[in-house]
């Protein structure tokens, strides 16, 4: 917060608090153009571009959810692949029951949210690093249990039914649209959530947990809500993953790779911002596409990059950009500006 030497009453009258630092009209128009372009992408762009975009959306969904967990609620999970996998398998389960795979996406999100409730009661007994590894144990356990269920393909896997009466191009278009819509809902939903009362509680916990508690914030219940929402989001990501790559296998759906990607992407883009995970995902895909002939080198380079960012630029690329140019596309906090101290950089109050 800005320090003022002027008498308190005088300075207070000159303080303005705003969400945006620039007119939101640019954000709105820019977003609309992007949304329209991405909505028609499979009809105007080559199939390869559309399928890459789809993988990009899946990563954005996961990273946005991981960022909500870690960046806003302070919970480092390395086991979110549990819910990606459970979402994929919930889709498979409902599809085997005869439900249209596209209809199963919200069902899968709901199912993973329900499973997440009892999981929080176990996990919330641990904190910090122990919490992190315990989330991984949960993911491992979920994978092993699914692997014993023969009807879901056991350890070897099973092809998702219900897509065979669509033509290949129909399948591609529909699954693209489904993924795109889920990504939109997740990003916009997270944005609205962070501007809601829960977002305010999360921000107060992050700034000072003791003060938040004494002001009546229910820390545990706020964290639980966030954990369940993040599980549902990853469940939806798993569901669209299952539709886009319909051979469902435990080691694929529950892969540690998901956890690594969502974590790196959020760290590099910037934890605690909506834009961060999206920007991180863009960088990740550029790197992956340009190094795809070189095995897993893209992941190694990206990991080193993420570690460097965590050590030397902990706000991430977007965080650095934001504090330098005082600009935000999707503001969830408030900027405090005192008229007398115009020359001083206003600090984001989130």
């Amino acid at each position: 917060m800005s320090k003022s030497t002027a008498p308190r009453t005088e300075s207070l009258s000159n303080v303005s608090i705003r969400r945006s630092t620039h007119s939101p009209i640019f954000t709105v128009i820019g977003s609309l153009i992007i949304v329209v372009l991405l909505s028609v992408a499979p009809w105007i762009a080559p199939a390869q571009v559309a399928s890459t975009l789809m993988n990009f959306f899946i990563l954005v969904i996961m990273a946005t959810m991981w960022n909500l967990l870690a960046g806003y609620a302070g919970m480092v999970s390395i086991g979110q692949q549990a819910f990606v996998g459970l979402g994929a398998y919930a889709t498979l389960y409902f599809a085997l029951k005869g439900v249209n795979p596209f209809v199963t996406i919200p069902l899968a999100a709901l199912a993973t949210a329900v499973i997440a409730v009892p999981v929080t009661f176990l996990l919330f007994r641990l904190r910090g690093g122990y919490f992190a590894i315990a989330t991984w144990v949960v993911a491992d356990t979920a994978m092993l249990i699914i692997g014993t269920i023969a009807v879901l393909g056991g350890g070897t896997g099973r092809l998702m039914p219900g897509l065979e009466n669509l033509s290949p191009s129909q399948t591609a278009h529909y699954s693209y649209l489904a993924t795109w819509i889920v990504a939109l809902i997740v990003v916009i939903g997270t944005y609205l959530l962070l501007r809601s009362r829960l977002g305010l509680v999360l921000a107060s916990i992050r700034d000072n947990e003791v003060a938040a508690r004494s002001a009546g914030a229910n820390v545990r219940s706020a964290r639980r809500t966030v954990y369940i929402i993040a599980a549902a989001g990853c469940g939806a990501a798993g569901a669209v993953l299952a539709i886009s790559q319909p051979f469902i296998q435990p080691t694929n759906e529950f892969s540690m790779q998901w956890a690594a990607e969502m974590l790196f992407v959020s760290m590099i883009g910037g934890l605690g911002t909506i834009e961060g995970p999206i920007i991180g995902s863009i960088i990740f895909f550029i790197l992956q596409q340009s190094l795809q002939q070189q095995g897993v080198w893209y992941l190694i380079i990206f990991g080193v990059f993420a570690v460097a960012v965590a050590l030397w630029q902990p706000k991430g690329l977007w965080g650095a950009f934001r504090s330098r140019f005082r600009s935000e596309l999707l503001p969830v906090g408030h900027w405090v500006r005192t008229e007398r101290l115009q020359t001083k950089t206003p600090e984001p109050l989130e």
Partner: protein, 290 residues
């Protein structure tokens, strides 16, 4: 008799888990750091042992004499540079950094040495075992590893309680500021603790390579088991870790006996049950609990 064998095999593998876990436990107890790359460090140690011994003209059995000190040094250096830097930020950063390292190491090993399994070759002793009962076979290697685990834990316990450096480590673990006021250089002490942790993890990695095949991805699974052993035994208790490791080993052997598919699952379920019923573990204090 079959159940006696299950329990004996569980105890043998449990000793290995405890050896693997004591470094994790020490790092958390003293530095309040969870090193998510702990398991991968062990795998790196096993690779170094396999790749280095032909050049040094020593039998792989004795490679630990070279690799363990190297890892002690590596632990000290890594602590004073990367890990200390992340601790200075916050515990959150430490988790992100060590997880990043873990993924990088695993994929680097995969790129350099492929996914093929390797072993630390110690000759024909690997196949030999003591045969005290009708169906009970006790492999010499596992027995030696269990003995090493108990020995390492005993030395560590003695070192922490009796030696001057050990007392300093405990002082820094209990109250960093107070220890600093009395003249202890906590960063150096942290470095020593990390050196010990890395030395034990190198030993565990080589032991693992002697007992079974290892691959770049072995680190993650072993970190999981080590962590489960620590929590089951009780966070902050060295001997608790041994008991936790044995409990985990026995649970896994029971599971494997029912169906090989259930081996790891049974261990995970024991861990989750302990978390639900007795979250402080069998011998633990309530320090790491929320």
């Amino acid at each position: 008799m079959i159940w006696v064998n299950v329990i004996i095999q569980g105890i043998l593998v449990g000793g290995f888990y405890a050896l693997f876990a004591c470094g994790l436990s020490l790092m958390f107890g003293v530095l309040k750091v969870i090193n998510l790359a702990h398991g991968d460090m062990a795998v790196v140690a096993a690779y170094v042992a396999v790749l280095l011994s032909p050049h040094l003209h020593i039998a792989m059995l004795w490679s630990f004499l070279v690799v363990v000190p190297i890892f002690g040094l590596l632990g000290y250096v890594l602590q004073r540079t990367l890990i200390q830097r992340s601790i200075d930020r916050d515990p959150f950063t430490t988790l992100l950094v060590t997880f990043g390292l873990s993924v990088v190491i695993e994929n680097l090993l995969l790129e350099l040495y492929t996914a093929n399994g390797r072993t630390v070759d110690i000759g024909s002793i690997i196949a030999q075992s003591w045969h005290p009962g009708s169906i009970v076979y006790i492999s010499y290697v596992s027995l030696v590893v269990l003995a090493i685990a108990v020995l390492v834990l005993a030395i560590l316990q003695l070192f922490l309680s009796k030696s001057r450096t050990g007392r300093l480590i405990r002082a820094v673990a209990d109250d960093r500021e107070a220890a600093q006021l009395s003249g202890a250089n906590y960063k150096h002490i942290f470095g020593i603790a990390a050196a010990i942790a890395f030395a034990t993890v190198a030993l565990a990695g080589i032991a693992y390579g002697m007992m079974t095949q290892f691959a770049p991805t072995s680190g993650g699974v072993n970190l999981l088991f080590a962590f489960e052993a620590v929590v089951i035994g009780g966070i902050g208790s060295l001997w608790g870790t041994l008991v936790g490791g044995i409990a985990l080993g026995v649970a896994q052997q029971f599971g494997a006996h029912l169906n090989p598919q259930y081996q790891v699952l049974a261990g995970n379920l024991l861990f989750l049950a302990v978390l639900a019923v007795r979250p402080q573990g069998l011998f633990g204090k309530k320090t790491a609990l929320a």
